[in-house]
């Protein structure tokens, strides 16, 4: 089948450009009354898609013990070398023998690749959907173990931004 090339053949009135100009004007006029795409941050927030890699969290067992066993698999896998862990024998009788006394992630060095999440044998570390954490100093953007556990607690009950948009009050860690 031959390719049909469609060329533009202006009709008599088209040569004056007036009909086309008016058509254009009415397109833009109509847009004024259409629904706007603006998300009015911070009252409502963009909900990132499933699998978004944002702020990290550390997970807990049902009884509240930290899942992490301080094996440092994540720190080894991390290409940015921004995880630092101090391991110590666990204080509890039952369960894992070791746990991290210090678990810090430098959020400014992290490249949010998600390798830590994949490397972890215990499903202890995840990347969450939280994206709006910012601060004025570099020190405050090094998140410690308590902070990471708190992120874990907040994000257990569903997407924080969906909850925020529904009007629920969600205290985000770090976010001002």
């Amino acid at each position: 089948m031959a390719t049909v090339l469609r060329t533009y053949e202006p009709r008599f009135w088209d040569r004056f450009y007036i009909p086309a100009l008016l058509q254009g004007l009415f397109i833009t006029l109509g847009r004024i009354f259409k629904r706007k795409d603006t998300i009015q941050y911070p009252e409502s927030k963009h909900v990132p898609p499933e699998g978004y890699r944002g702020l990290h969290r550390l997970n807990r067992h049902e009884d509240g013990r930290i899942k992490c066993v301080a094996c440092e698999m994540c720190a080894t896998a991390c290409p940015a070398q921004c995880i630092s862990i101090e391991s110590s024998p666990a204080p509890w009788e039952e369960g894992e023998e070791r746990y991290p006394v210090k678990f810090e992630i430098d959020l400014l060095r992290c490249i949010y690749c998600g390798f830590c999440e994949i490397a972890c044998p215990k499903d202890a570390i995840d990347l969450t959907e939280i994206y709006d954490f910012s601060d004025y100093t570099r020190d405050s953007l090094v998140i410690d173990e308590d902070g990471l556990l708190k992120v874990g607690d907040i994000t257990q009950t569903g997407n924080v931004y969906q909850r925020h948009n529904r009007g629920e009050k969600v205290e985000l860690p770090l976010a001002r």
């Binding site: 100009l21 254009g24 004007l25 397109i27 833009t28 006029l29 847009r31 004024i32 259409k34 629904r35 706007k36 795409d37 603006t38 009015q40």
Partner: protein, 340 residues
Amino acid sequence: MDTFDLLATIIKVVIVFVTILVTIIILGLAERRVSGFMQYRLGPNRVGPWGLLQTVADGIKFLFKEDIIPDNVNRPIYLLAPVITMIPAFMTFAVIPFGVPLEIAGHTVKLQVADINIGLLYILALTSVGVYGLVLAGWSAGSKYPLLGGLRSSAQLISYELAMGLAIVGVIMVSGGLTFNEIITHQQATSWNFWKQPLAALVFLVAMFAETNRLPFDLTEAEQELVGGYHTEYSSFKFLMFYMSEYANVITASGFMVCLFFGGWDMPFIDEKALGHWGVVLSVLAFVSKVGFFLFLYIWVRWTFPRFRYDQLMRLGWKVLLPLGLVNIFAVGLWMALRA
């Protein structure tokens, strides 16, 4: 001139000046919000209710910004250029009547700052003076982009001033006078010039956009090619002066258009002069809403049409608008000769 007239004139000057400033503020916000709406956005809506104070905040920002004067500018001319642009921009509105004369205590107060008998020529002359500001700004900045912008503006304004003048000639021929009051009274007695001379109205409209350097004719500040055109090297308050004079010119051009082709303060089917004070209010409202429509048109057109290329601009001016203006004059002359 007695004390009453003097006082009335001073009050009118203050009112008109303040109104123009307030309109500039509103226009600055409207420009940004309407732009937003046309692009499925909301535009600035945080400062004050509905963002009403946004332009005020912008103005304050301009005042507190560092005022940078580049090293190799021609200082006296560089400093003078914004003033040369701004003063005529604010002066031109003086001859535009915005309502029927008001009767107070036996005196007649014309709602117009100055009713001079060459009103139309006054506006054409002053807008040409305003062009000097742009050209000097571009020339004195000692940098190539402003220079190009300034050159473009002079060429563009000369070309379109001609077409504009020709469009006005037709109006002067039918109304038989150079003052706005004669033109408006004539339109009130018969019908709006727009219905009688749509061709002239169209030519004038296009020329008006070109004269005020607005899209689709903003070749002088085409930001993709010329950074910012003639005001590239200006900052802080001097930039604000260019910004304000552009809007003042837009307002005056809209008022000019309304007076010439859309009956000025004339409200159709109503005899304002017979209604006393209410007629005055009605006529001012009619004028304001007509001007408001054209201000909206400026923004509307800005987000609808792409910018002309320079040669297209020149072709449109000299090969299309100029002949159309001449055709209009010829047609009006023929019509008047046949009727006489």
